[in-house]
């Protein structure tokens, strides 16, 4: 029982940390702080995964997010005109719409969490080495098509986005 409560404490602590950093993203006026707050929010989610004994997912999340959010930081600073850290930028806009969207999404997620049939609670979790093996078999087995398609789609989207971003510039010059 003590073990379980330690785990619960760990998960809820990082859950709250994730939410808190998520709020900080919009509370700050600096792009840089905003981006890194998002990073720590995601890292906290990674820590939650570890708390839920999904070691691979947790470590992967912690690793991927560091690079991704750092990239986001530089893009935010570059495109959002904050190289010197204006520090006066308001991170919120279209407030009414975002409040509504946020509420709807939150309710939808709560509804999904409450009304889904999650099946029976697993008695024991396979050890992490076993998890990695299972995950590998899953990825290379029946889910392969899904993942490959998703990967290719993302790649196409990235290339297309770059192409779209570059094109108008050329036209302007002519």
């Amino acid at each position: 029982m003590a073990m379980i409560s330690a785990q619960t404490f760990f998960i809820s602590f990082f859950g709250l940390a994730a939410v808190w950093f998520g709020i900080v993203v919009f509370r700050t006026h600096s792009m840089m702080r905003s981006a890194l707050a998002l990073l720590f929010s995601q890292t906290a989610i990674g820590a939650m995964f570890i708390g839920m004994q999904a070691e691979f997912l947790g470590v992967l999340q912690i690793m991927m997010m560091a690079t991704e959010m750092s990239i986001m930081a530089i893009f935010m600073v570059m495109f959002m005109m904050d190289p010197g850290g204006l520090g006066k930028m308001d991170m919120t806009h279209q407030k009414r719409r975002s409040v509504i969207t946020g509420l709807v999404a939150f309710l939808a997620i709560v509804a999904v969490a409450l009304f889904t049939n999650w099946g029976t609670l697993a008695g024991s979790v396979p050890d992490s080495a076993q998890q990695i093996e299972d995950l590998g078999l899953e990825l290379m087995g029946r889910s392969m098509l899904i993942f490959e398609t998703a990967g290719l789609t993302l790649l196409t989207a990235m290339i297309a986005a770059t192409a779209v971003a570059v094109e108008p510039l050329k036209r302007n010059r002519n």
Binding site: R33, I62, P83
Partner: protein, 298 residues
């Protein structure tokens, strides 16, 4: 107990890195110099520059040190001398090392200085590229060991060390490790003659001491990683395992530090194109070749 011992070893390692680094610079063995320099730094003022981002400024040196230390927790020095043999060990090293990037971005942004800021952004470009050259060769290493356990990786090299089994991967990983530790000639982020010290420029006193310690620990950790992944870890004839680990790690450290004074700094454009246009295709080739080798000689 193990933890305390490894922390002690890391401290000794950091000291030795400092000694070797000074030797590669001026050819003299100054055994007391790192210690006096450390004490002197602790006694000096630690200035907070004007209008800093205080949180980032304070956190950055500590985060650098912690990332390097965390990466060291999953590295085995002897079969039993490892803090935690995580099932995701290889991935965990990567995860910890990526926070070096976060630390340097903070150190670049925090002090509100142009040199530091440019240094921080330069490191972002550098690490995004070279992190690929960390992850991809490591993938090939894990493929051979069929495990992400670092101890398993060492034992998988019992017959043939990875430096011979996948020499291309070794070269790529070695270069990437140097770029990750911003050792010259990849020191664009702290370049003295371009940025007057870059991310380090505004730190002084205790904070600078922590930052430099973090970097020394990072170098020794990376050297240990190379030894575990490519040089058969603790394995070797005649000598006990700990001796082999120590000898190999110090040799790799010296090799990493020797290139610096003998070469001009790489141009930033060359640094990036070298990685994206040459390094990454080669890393993919390496994965492919190792895949074939694993299939042919299981």
């Amino acid at each position: 107990m193990t933890t305390a011992l490894i922390l002690l070893l890391l401290a000794v390692g950091a000291y030795l890195v400092a000694v070797i680094e000074a030797w590669t610079m001026n050819g003299r063995w100054q055994l007391a110099a790192p210690i006096t320099a450390g004490i002197a730094l602790l006694g000096r003022e630690s200035i907070v520059p004007r209008k800093p981002d205080r949180v980032f400024f304070e956190v950055a040196p500590v985060l650098l040190l912690i990332s390097a230390l965390l990466a060291a927790t999953v590295l085995p020095l002897t079969p039993g001398l490892i803090i935690t043999d995580l099932a995701t060990g290889v991935l965990f090293i990567n995860a910890a090392l990526v926070y070096v990037l976060v630390a340097l971005l903070m150190a670049g942004w925090g002090p509100n200085g142009a040199y530091a800021m440019i240094g921080g952004w330069r490191f972002l470009g550098q690490l995004i590229a070279y992190a690929m050259l960390i992850v991809m060769p490591v993938t090939a290493v894990a493929m051979r060991a069929e495990s992400l356990l670092t101890t398993q990786i060492v034992t998988s090299q019992a017959d043939l060390w990875n430096i011979l089994y996948q020499p291309l991967g070794f070269v790529l990983f070695f270069v990437a490790a140097m770029a990750l530790a911003f050792l010259p000639p990849f020191d664009l982020t702290t370049a003295t003659s371009e940025l007057a010290g870059g991310v380090e420029a505004e730190y002084s006193g205790v904070r600078l001491a922590v930052f430099r310690l973090g970097r020394l620990v990072l170098v020794i950790t990376l050297a240990a990683t190379i030894v575990v992944f490519y040089l058969g870890g603790w394995q070797g004839p005649w000598l006990p395992p700990w001796a082999w680990s120590a000898i190999k790690i110090l040799a790799v450290t010296a090799l990493m530090l020797l290139a610096g004074p003998a070469l001009p700094r790489v141009r930033e454009a060359d640094l990036l194109s070298l990685c994206w246009k040459l390094g990454i295709p080669l890393a993919l080739l390496n994965i492919f070749v190792v895949g074939l080798q694993v299939l042919v000689w299981p």
